[in-house]
């Protein structure tokens, strides 16, 4: 399976003009990338490289260049497809922002089986806090376990937590890269990249061995937005790339949801703003399933073991923002060792998680309904 000559030429053109496009969009990343990529081959070449458009076009259409591409694909273990060949999902080929060709690494059958109603894009801040990472992980784990493909961008923070969560269960995940599909980016996520390669799918609209430029990431966002029926933003600051993804999802006629965060947290300003603008409220995987498949069509739900009074007070303190035993003790009005014991209990029951510095954060595990409690505390 491989892309048709015309579509492959388009992809090669993007790679060849990457530096020129970057200069054209550099001032305001995102906005113009979309418009530029909507141009036809000749117009694009003329727009960003007025000095020698014909020469560039001739080169990317030459037989040698296409042979070299075939060699690159084989060397990188990648395959290609395009809007004229299976298995480019209908969702993508119908979208106005559809890429001409798509390059992939991993099982191509996953791409043909990808339907927007069965896929959710989970994105968010690269500088996510413990809250964002935990929610992304748990949300993706549950979604994947419910048969939803989790799509994200392999970036630091929320993106990688989403992939990890999806891989933690029986589900599957798709990483859409801004760089070529042959290159783990960022490099520190090489291991995660390998896992996704083995158990899921890696996609990119750029051919292997393409150089990396900033415009590629907002351009990649439009693919992520188009592939899934819903885009969920978990923790995004005021000016975050995830908001571009949300905007593109709306353009592509997809639904947008956001996970609410504390109103006084700068990390959640973007996500909360989306909610204020009318995005769907995502409190957990159930809300995403309801959006995708209709309310109540599929039920998820996991509640933790019952808690005593002391544990509930400590849990409340963490939910209110305390992240150290001292803070929890003071906020919950517990003597320090009692607070410590309560926190140990909450952690082993799965309500809390501690990072390497010992900072505590709430997991997505829900406390039992009132009245079911009355535990051991």
């Amino acid at each position: 399976m491989s892309a048709c000559r015309e579509c492959a030429s388009r992809a090669l053109l993007l790679a060849a003009l990457a530096g020129h496009i970057d200069r054209a969009v550099d001032r305001r990343v995102g906005d113009r990338a979309r418009d530029i990529l909507a141009l036809g081959d000749e117009e694009l070449a003329l727009a960003v490289c007025p000095s020698e458009p014909a020469k560039v076009l001739r080169r990317v259409r030459s037989a040698e260049r296409h042979e070299a591409l075939a060699g690159d694909l084989e060397a990188a273990g990648c395959w290609s497809t395009c809007r004229h060949r299976a298995p480019l999902p209908d969702a993508l080929s119908a979208s106005p922002a559809a890429p001409a060709a798509l390059f992939g690494k991993g099982d191509p059958a996953l791409l043909s089986g990808l339907v927007p109603e069965r896929a959710a894009t989970v994105v968010g801040s690269r500088r996510a806090g413990a809250y964002g990472r935990e929610i992304a992980r748990e949300l993706s784990r549950t979604l994947a376990a419910s048969g939803i493909v989790v799509i994200s961008g392999l970036a630091l923070g929320v993106d990688s937590a989403a992939h990890e969560g999806a891989l933690a269960g029986p589900g599957t995940t798709v990483a859409v890269l801004g760089t070529g599909a042959d290159r783990p980016y960022p490099r520190s996520h090489r291991r995660l990249y390998e896992r996704i390669h083995a158990e899921g799918l890696i996609l990119s609209e750029l051919p292997p061995c393409s150089p990396t430029f900033r415009w590629m990431f907002p351009a990649r966002n439009r693919l992520m937005a188009a592939l899934a029926g819903v885009t969920v933003v978990v923790e995004a600051a005021e000016r975050s790339g995830s908001l571009i993804t949300a905007e593109m999802a709306i353009d592509a006629g997809r639904q947008v949801g956001a996970v609410p965060g504390p109103v006084n947290s700068w990390r959640s300003e973007g996500a909360n703003k989306l909610l204020a603008d009318g995005a769907a409220v995502i409190r957990g995987a159930q809300d995403v399933l309801d959006l995708l498949l209709g309310p109540g069509a599929v039920q998820v739900g996991r509640r933790g073991p019952p808690l005593g009074e002391r544990e509930l007070a400590a849990l409340g303190a963490v939910e209110a923002g305390a992240s150290t035993p001292d803070g929890v003790g003071a906020a919950a009005g517990l003597p320090f060792t009692r607070a410590l014991a309560a926190l140990g209990r909450l952690e082993r029951d799965g309500y809390l998680r501690a990072d390497a510095t010992g900072a505590l954060s709430r997991t997505a595990l829900r406390a039992p309904e009132a009245g079911m409690g009355g535990g051991l505390g």
């Binding site: 690269r126 500088r127 996510a128 806090g129 413990a130 630091l156 923070g157 960022p186 520190s188 700068w266 992240s323 150290t324 035993p325 001292d326 803070g327 003790g329 003071a330 320090f336 060792t337 410590l340 014991a341 309560a342 926190l343 140990g344 209990r345 952690e347 082993r348 029951d349 799965g350 998680r353 501690a354 990072d355 390497a356 510095t357 010992g358 900072a359 505590l360 051991l376």
Partner: protein
């Protein structure tokens, strides 16, 4: 004519006996020194000649050969001066050799014949005491030599006093009682206001001898707390205090004025080399961990220490000693210390959840990974703290060191009754843990749940059990229950997710 005197060479923190043999022959005047001397020992010839002449004795104008035996032991430093001068005076018949038979001699000579102090005199006096003979040292060293308590000590001001000693005319100093184990007043725990977390961490660490890591922003009182750890540790026994004083003396951290040292507190900077930390050089010198023997080693900014330095700490933490191997042989220094480490929550110090944190995601992630890898399996306790509130700072002082030390002492007594003198829960072996760490039913169930749900490793499991045992000792309980397990879980070392 032949004469022999006895002195000591320092090897690590121990004193090894060295015989000084002098042979005086007729022949061209010459003074040769054999027996593996280093430069300072060879220079001793000039000091000895000047000192003898300036004290009114006669330097024999003959062929003099001095031998330091055993010949295969490398000798360093000026400590052999006194013994060499004494042997020359005996060999030339200027002082009676029999008068020095019961004395070890240790001192450096000044050109005017007065005697200068040496490092490591306590170790020498201890060794001399073991032989049943006395030791003659510089006046400045006499207080230190008397700390050993066994050997008779002669304090010499100059070479002339040596002659007096040899004639048996040196006045005996008034017998003084063995020095009490005292130390300079330590900073008190009551200064630590409104930090229940740090207090709990200190108390549990002191009670069980556990290594502790505290993570928190600048101003949270991490160093303040660390400096107060020695004040709640049980007082040193006399034997321990002598060990500590001996090390301080060998390391040249004198003058030792006749009082025994208290628990040492060492806080090396994070730029320290691994040789500076564990000891090294040629001849090997004790490092920070040996200077912290029986005391506290405080590592501030744990995440900034070179990985190699921290790795070098692993074996000493396990063994309680460090062995440094050189071509001339291996040397073992004691290093049984308690480790207290502190770290910022992220490279800029504000903590990732703070808006003022200026660390990039990648940098913060790398820092966390480094922190969680640093001596990962050597801290039984880890604790996240924050800056105390203004009310707490203005509030009443907390419990004093004396109160907490009382509880620590009781908990230690329970451990010693189970494990033996000087042992703590932190040093329990697996077999001892099987014997002594008993959980009640709910405690076992809690730990089993933690094993399944939190992915606690085998080592992590053992550390939780040890800390739970210490918590039970502090509470005076026979078995550790669910409460102790939960607190120990909260205090365990966390690793990067």
């Amino acid at each position: 004519m032949l004469a022999r005197t006895r002195t000591f060479a320092l090897h690590g923190v121990d004193a090894l006996p060295v015989d000084v043999e002098i042979d005086i022959h007729r022949g061209l005047p010459a003074f040769s020194l054999v027996g593996l001397p280093d430069a300072a020992v060879r220079e001793s010839r000039e000091r000895v000649r000047a000192a003898i002449v300036n004290c009114g004795f006669e330097f024999p104008l003959k062929r003099i050969t001095a031998n330091l035996a055993p010949a295969d032991l490398r000798k360093a430093g000026p400590g052999f001066d006194l013994a060499i001068a004494a042997a020359i005076l005996c060999a030339s018949g200027q002082i009676p050799a029999s008068g020095l038979a019961g004395w070890w001699l240790a001192g450096e000579l000044a050109l005017d014949g007065s005697i200068r102090s040496l490092p490591g005199v306590l170790a020498m006096a201890e060794r001399a005491g073991g032989s049943g003979d006395g030791i003659a040292v510089a006046e400045a060293n006499a207080g230190e030599a008397r700390l050993a308590g066994e050997a008779a000590v002669a304090a010499l001001g100059s070479l002339s006093d040596l002659a007096t000693l040899a004639r048996g005319e040196l006045p005996e100093p008034p017998a003084s009682p063995p020095a009490p184990v005292t130390s300079a007043p330590l900073p008190d725990l009551s200064d630590l206001r409104g930090q229940p977390g740090l207090r709990e961490g200190l108390e549990v660490a002191a009670a069980g001898g556990h290594g502790v890591l505290v993570v928190g922003p600048p101003g949270a009182g991490k160093s303040l707390a660390a400096r107060r750890l020695p004040s709640i540790l049980p007082p040193l026994s006399r034997a321990e205090a002598i060990e500590v004083t001996k090390i301080a003396s060998v390391a040249g951290r004198g003058p030792i004025d006749g009082t025994l040292a208290g628990r040492p507190f060492r806080a090396p900077h994070h730029t320290i080399s691994s040789a500076g930390l564990v000891g090294g050089g040629s001849p090997p010198r004790p490092g920070e961990i040996t200077l912290a023997h029986r005391g506290v080693l405080f590592l501030d900014e744990l995440g900034e220490f070179a990985r190699s330095s921290l790795e070098a700490l692993r074996q000493p933490l396990e063994d309680g000693s460090v062995t440094i191997s050189r071509a001339q042989g291996a040397m073992t220094f004691p290093a049984r210390f308690q480790i207290f480490a502190a770290a910022n929550p992220c490279p800029c110090g504000h903590g990732e959840d703070s808006r003022s944190c200026s660390c990039s995601g990648e940098r913060a992630r790398a820092y966390k990974a480094r922190l969680s890898g640093a001596l990962a399996d050597r801290f039984d306790l880890a604790l996240r703290v924050e800056q105390p509130s203004a009310e707490a700072l203005a509030g009443d002082p907390g419990e004093s060191s004396a109160t907490v030390a009382g509880r620590v002492l009781e908990a230690r007594a329970r451990q010693e009754a189970r494990l033996g003198t000087g042992r703590t829960n932190a040093s329990m072996t697996e077999a001892e843990m099987a014997d002594h760490v008993r959980l009640d039913e709910r405690g076992s169930a809690a730990l089993a749940a933690a094993h399944g749900g939190m992915g606690l490793s085998g080592r992590g499991w053992n550390r939780v059990l040890k800390v739970a045992r210490t918590l039970a000792d502090l509470a005076g309980a026979e078995r550790a229950g669910e409460e102790q397990i939960d607190v120990a879980l909260s205090l365990r070392r966390k690793v990067a997710a």
